[in-house]
């Protein structure tokens, strides 16, 4: 589904990713762990297509296409979803309006029929209930005045509504208490399917107790320096990232 080869990327002229390789097949859950500054967020933004993240070398192939050729909205249309570490506040745009525009844009891209107002509201009610989101939150402007937990839940709601093929979760666990974490994890797990894949980016192992990965990778110094099964996460939790500082150098 996703094949990243020798990816080099610069931000503000500084090379952050230095030859990253990653291969994700449909149905798999991968976790990327790493210390601060290792390039975790850069990877997520490169995948989502954010301006200012310049790929200087390597390739990213998604469903057989060159992902880097696509605009951010095309990537979303093709099923890529980035759950932001810091969801952006958009004053003046109600969450419901935003979700409706997003869903209909994605449906259009996929050549499917747009939802009418009634069908949309019905669908949204069901999803919010699953995620324990209060209806009044949706009437408020996107992420404005939301608590940290509400913002992350809102990301999960968007994901549930857009039903992506490849979801990238960037530090989704940060700022969540354990109850919120469970809700979020349930939301993510409910999306697991043989034709979908997940990339969970996290600093801590905690989230991986609830979203159990098939593979764990250690990102340090802009490259994957070690890969293993889910037990690698526990090892990292015990030992920390210190030993990888050398590997990255």
């Amino acid at each position: 589904m996703l094949e990243i080869k020798n990816l080099h990327a610069k931000v503000d002229g500084k090379e952050i990713l230095k030859g990253l390789d990653l291969h994700i097949r449909a149905g798999e859950v991968h976790a990327i762990m790493g210390p601060n500054g290792s390039g975790k967020s850069t990877l997520s933004y490169v995948l989502a297509g954010r301006a200012g993240y310049e790929v200087t070398e390597g390739s990213v192939t998604y469903k057989g296409r060159n992902l880097l050729d696509l605009e951010p909205e095309e990537r979303a249309g093709e099923g890529i979803f980035l759950a932001f570490q810091y969801p952006v506040e958009i004053p003046g745009v109600a969450s419901t309006t935003f979700l409706k525009h997003a869903l209909n844009a994605v449906l259009r891209h996929r050549g499917e029929e747009e939802l009418d107002a009634m069908a949309f509201v019905k669908m949204l009610r069901a999803k919010t209930k699953e995620l324990g989101i209060a209806d009044d939150m949706l009437k408020r402007p996107v992420n404005v005045g939301y608590s940290g937990g509400e913002k992350k839940r809102n990301e999960m709601l968007q994901m549930a509504v857009l039903e992506p093929t490849l979801a990238v979760l960037d530090e989704t666990d940060s700022g969540l208490d354990i109850d919120a974490l469970k809700v979020v994890a349930d939301g993510v797990n409910s999306l697991r399917a043989p034709d979908r894949a997940l990339l969970v980016i996290t600093h801590y192992q905690r989230l991986l107790d609830y979203i159990v990965p098939d593979y764990v990778h250690v990102l340090a110094g802009g490259r994957i320096v070690r890969s293993g099964g889910k037990e690698l996460a526990h090892e990292l939790e015990a030992k920390g990232y210190a030993e990888f500082a050398d590997a990255a150098a």
């Binding site: 989502a48 301006a51 909205e73 979303a76 249309g77 309006t97 869903l103 844009a105 402007p141 857009l162």
Partner: protein, 447 residues
């Protein structure tokens, strides 16, 4: 003194006045003829404003100066009730085409006792004393070349008079249409709104235009608000692309009077909307809100002057603009607090969203405070669309144009949601959305 070209244009206009003076309404009323004569003399002395005049520093009338306008003649056909873009389902509608009343397009429902809703031209025939008592009152000693010109040429417009305590529960929509004729034409609409003590009115002024040849609407509106009375006033300027639009609104507020104003501008090649409010009684309060959207090479100037003449008066002002392509806008906001006008509160904000590198805003907030116990603030910001928000929307699949549209609507929502005339919010939101929809493709840039 002004340059020869400006003098020539000024003379051209003064000559046009001489040619039509005899056929203007109320030529049998000596007081009105006197006002007209005084007006044309003041205009002749002041001349067409140039950028050397402080208040006109950022708005260049060079293009206007080059057009030889003729007084617009009545247009009796070509417009029907069906083709008029009415904004709200107003109970009372008055329509003026090129400054002349079109009775066939008007609809006035039965107004309550004590309310007079008619055209100024008709009022000059039937109730001239009432017009005389109020015309020019709101303006006080303040003068300006274009209002002097309007004094000279004034033809027709809304005349609304409410006796004390009358609450006109319904909306009056006044549509002024500029129609380009074989050559460039100008018109001078004049609206007079008098709300006596304790009365209430809601008026929408709507300016539109058709045709390819240049038009100039030089409008003047006066609002006299008595003690404890309230006027809600909205103005929508959606003139044709070749139009010039110059307008002055003077509002005079007595004790505990309230004036709520909303301006929306998206039309005309060059427009200047000026508002002067005198808070002339304790407890008087005004709220000036405005939104404008300009593109191509449009120029829009919003100039406001709030005069806190008495203590315990309050004002709040928010103007927001969106500029694309090579559009230019001017915002000049002056708040004056006179000596002894203690315990006043005046807040002003101007925010501009620049959608292209070629767009430009000149913002000139100004506070002149001569009292010491006051709360005043002002702010002016100009910026681009929030790139992070734009990326966030796009990352959710929303195409860039649509995302930009959502953000522009969101930017203007604060003022549009604040329109006192609730029925106007949705039609104007629609206009914002449509305006964004007509943006040229981003890759191609402006026209």
């Amino acid at each position: 003194m002004a340059d020869p070209r400006t003098l020539r244009t000024t003379k051209h206009i003064v000559d046009r006045y001489a040619a039509v003076a005899d056929i203007l309404p109320g030529s049998d009323l000596p007081w009105l003829v006197g006002r007209r004569q005084a007006g044309i003399e003041r205009f002749r002395d002041a001349g067409l404003p140039t950028r050397k005049i402080e208040e006109w520093k950022y708005t260049n009338l060079e293009e206007l100066r080059r057009v030889a306008f003729e007084p617009a003649k009545p247009v009796v056909n070509g417009i029907s009730t069906g083709t008029l873009p009415t904004l709200v389902g107003a109970e009372h509608r008055l329509v003026f085409v090129n400054g002349h009343l079109r009775p066939d397009l008007c609809a006035i429902c039965m107004p309550p006792d004590g309310a007079t809703i008619t055209s100024l031209g008709k009022a000059l025939e039937s109730i001239p004393a009432l017009v005389e008592a109020h015309l020019g009152v709101a303006r006080g000693d303040e003068d300006a070349p274009f209002t002097a010109l309007n004094d000279a040429f004034l033809t027709d417009g809304l005349f609304l008079h409410l006796k004390p305590g009358v609450d006109l529960g319904s909306v009056i929509e006044v549509i002024h249409v500029s129609v380009g004729q074989s050559g460039p034409v100008f018109q001078h609409p004049r609206n007079l709104i008098v709300a006596e003590a304790g009365s209430h009115a809601t008026v929408l002024e709507h300016y539109i235009g058709f045709g390819q040849s240049p038009t100039l609407a030089n409008a003047a509106t006066e609002v006299v608000i008595g003690e404890g009375a309230g006027v809600r006033h909205c103005k929508v300027q959606a003139e044709a692309p070749e139009a010039f639009h110059i307008a002055m609104l003077d509002a005079h507020l007595a004790k505990n009077a309230a004036f709520d104003s909303f301006y929306f501008a998206s039309g005309a090649k060059l427009s200047r909307n000026e508002i002067r409010v005198t808070l002339d009684g304790e407890g008087a309060d005004c709220r000036l809100f405005g939104a404008y959207m300009m593109k191509d090479r449009q120029h829009a100037d919003h100039t406001t002057f709030i005069d806190h003449a008495k203590p315990h008066t309050t004002s709040r002002e928010v103007y927001k603009g969106v500029l694309d392509d090579k559009a230019r806008a001017v915002f000049q906001g002056l708040i004056l607090v006179r000596p002894d006008a203690q315990k006043i509160e005046g807040h002003q904000l101007n925010r501009t969203l620049l959608l292209s590198d070629g767009a430009e805003i000149d913002a000139k907030p100004e506070l002149k405070i001569f009292a010491d116990d006051v709360k005043c603030s002002h702010g002016a910001t100009a910026g681009e669309l929030d790139e992070e928000a734009l990326f966030y929307l796009r990352a959710r699949g929303i195409p860039e144009d649509e995302a930009r549209g959502l953000l522009v609507e969101a930017f203007l929502r604060e003022v549009i949601d604040g329109i006192a005339m609730a029925g106007l919010r949705e039609p104007l939101s629609d206009r914002v959305a449509r305006w964004m929809g007509t943006r040229p493709a981003l890759a191609g840039g402006g026209a």
